[in-house]
Point group: C4
Chain length 237, copies 4
Amino acid sequence: MTITAEVSRVIAELRQQACDLHAQLTHYELVIWTAGNVSARVPGRELMVIKPSGADYDSLSADDMVVCDLYGNLVDGALAPSSDTAAHAYVYRHMPDVGGVVHTHSTYATAWAARGEPIPCVLTMVADEFGGDIPVGPFALIGDDSIGRGIVDTLRDSRSPAVLMRNHGPFTIGRTARDAVKAAVMVEDVARTVHISRQLGAIPPIDPADVTALFERYQNVYGQPGGYTDTIQENNR
Amino acid sequence: MTITAEVSRVIAELRQQACDLHAQLTHYELVIWTAGNVSARVPGRELMVIKPSGADYDSLSADDMVVCDLYGNLVDGALAPSSDTAAHAYVYRHMPDVGGVVHTHSTYATAWAARGEPIPCVLTMVADEFGGDIPVGPFALIGDDSIGRGIVDTLRDSRSPAVLMRNHGPFTIGRTARDAVKAAVMVEDVARTVHISRQLGAIPPIDPADVTALFERYQNVYGQPGGYTDTIQENNR
Amino acid sequence: MTITAEVSRVIAELRQQACDLHAQLTHYELVIWTAGNVSARVPGRELMVIKPSGADYDSLSADDMVVCDLYGNLVDGALAPSSDTAAHAYVYRHMPDVGGVVHTHSTYATAWAARGEPIPCVLTMVADEFGGDIPVGPFALIGDDSIGRGIVDTLRDSRSPAVLMRNHGPFTIGRTARDAVKAAVMVEDVARTVHISRQLGAIPPIDPADVTALFERYQNVYGQPGGYTDTIQENNR
Amino acid sequence: MTITAEVSRVIAELRQQACDLHAQLTHYELVIWTAGNVSARVPGRELMVIKPSGADYDSLSADDMVVCDLYGNLVDGALAPSSDTAAHAYVYRHMPDVGGVVHTHSTYATAWAARGEPIPCVLTMVADEFGGDIPVGPFALIGDDSIGRGIVDTLRDSRSPAVLMRNHGPFTIGRTARDAVKAAVMVEDVARTVHISRQLGAIPPIDPADVTALFERYQNVYGQPGGYTDTIQENNR
């Protein structure tokens, strides 16, 4: 596969973006040591940018990010790709609208995953971002397509950008890598709040019609038209 | 509505203040990603300063803050106002002594809100700041006056500056925006402490007469006469 | 009461020390907003240095610290002393070996205090620092000697430097203000660990003879002979 | 015992490394005040580098680290060695492959230790790093070989690099001090996640064959061939 100058530029930007987004995982304490990873699809190419395996977050640089094809083969970079690369690659092959994938072992989301229990839609914030209960995916061993298939089978017909893989932890997807990181931050936050609430009693559900109203408003009305980052840049010009 | 030079100066100050107070929300980990908001009433004018919708806390500047009238219409600013603007505006229209409003989804306060359970007044700190149990407000959808009405109906005859909106999260009010932020910090703190205490057994209540004694002392005797900030500035001159 | 040059110098040092120790309270997240306070006795004088009332931790300077006599009357300083000054003063009047007092509303210690339940001595760390269960003191209103008397009556015949005041929070004492801050840090830590352990089952106690052996070793053998700070300074000279 | 120039150089490096690794203990909030310690074996010599007793983490420098023989006698350094030196020394004497030892009182691991309950292998992360349940060691007093013997007896025939010492806290071992610190970080993380998960129900176990598959893959395939740090340095040359 040849990489043109234009694709090189896009890849360099995605490497920087992926590097910056990994810093959000540590900022929100979703990962420890070298666990967890963010990837970004290279738009219009059968390529992705992903974290190297076993890499320290503190010393991670944009250059360390590796480029793989959508079967997980290394295309560019000096380091071995994340051990979760096959799962990310499977998602990109089977979900063409997905531009970013994130995996963490964040505490509360993993706690729901370990019990194999979906996070119920009992907060407006769950309705806003996840559009209903946050689903559980199968137990799957690392090393082949099992994890990727589990993610895709669970999320394909769901509004939720997050799946809780049994005995393992959450995977999240998004239109962009930033959206997938946002979903990773929010799944941990709602996993924690609903867990704590449930410790002292039952939580009344939200009416499904209200869930849909909240989801549609949040997805379409919330934020700046054209996106916050672009609007701010325009504004500051 | 014309904005005089004097009002412009006040608005510039409030924008800076609101920006600084948003940093307190992240400092105390009351918000994640772009959720949560602080507003300040422009004294003597039918105006308020509020956070733009979907704005990153890290890059938030005073200039990003938007000015709206008390029906939520944008008066000044390049960005769309917070999606909670209507709720803030309703509070200012119906509670003339309120100068600041804060909304978060802070974990423990939202956990009580999700169960629809008031936080009982079992700590001197609850008595000091809230003067009794911290009340629950109704479930309300975003998009009209429902949330604002729920806040006002719950707090109008209460000593508490905080209301726990069902399945949603806390809103707090104050004489100033800083007071409302203080209440947001304290509601999360007492929500956490009382939750944790209750996990291992019942908590004896505080006698209502003692609650009143604590509340009145804290509201009237605690701190510096004339307020800490002013006293410190005077002191350092 | 006249303040000599020598006492002035000691007071200046204690003001700086008390200021630095307040930063430990925020570092260990034992306090929020303006709550909590540290005081230090002026050795050999009927005086103490304490935090002003309602003071922001972020802007606190050594000069802001106020000097009071041991009845809580302001002797030097531009600000009103902490609303807990009377309690600190009572402790200094009745416990001549105490050189420092700390008060916080730290979450887990306050949770035990709210239930009125002593923290059982089930960790070697509790035995080391507290020499047994951490006791509960009475419910007491602010405004007279009730809190001070509750602290002294509870700690006078105890090995523990910490008391859990009912529905309120912990007070700790020490030979120096630093020792009292250390006890405040450790009481929160063991309160949290024992709470969490107890959530999933019973904890076997430590044999009282072993508690005494641990306490005596930790009080007499742990650390550097002559104290860590002095040894380090000697070492670096 | 004479120390050659070459050994001096190695010891200087290990002092710096041990100092840097202590900063990881505070970064991950595994320790408070002066508790906790890291040691590193001096390869091929009957020596170890360890933290001084009662030392502040904030002011800890490489020079403060002390060198002891494997019976805990001070060989080089101006400060008294950690009060846990005898336990570290016993491990090095009896486990020749161990190059690093870490001790903390981290909250959740200590909570399991206090109940005397092993952490069950219900997460892929537990299988990856610990290869099965994380075992409990005996209650042992400080002051002789009891703690060291308890660690060695528990870990000698275990895949786990962590042991939960009853009523006390975790000790971890590793091929290097960095590996032992990694195990200390991970034991707290999985202790927390499994604790939280179990609060709301039972967790299905992972099949023992899958545990072995995960353990062997993680120990042999994860990370960079030759180690991340070396690969990165090579890469950046």
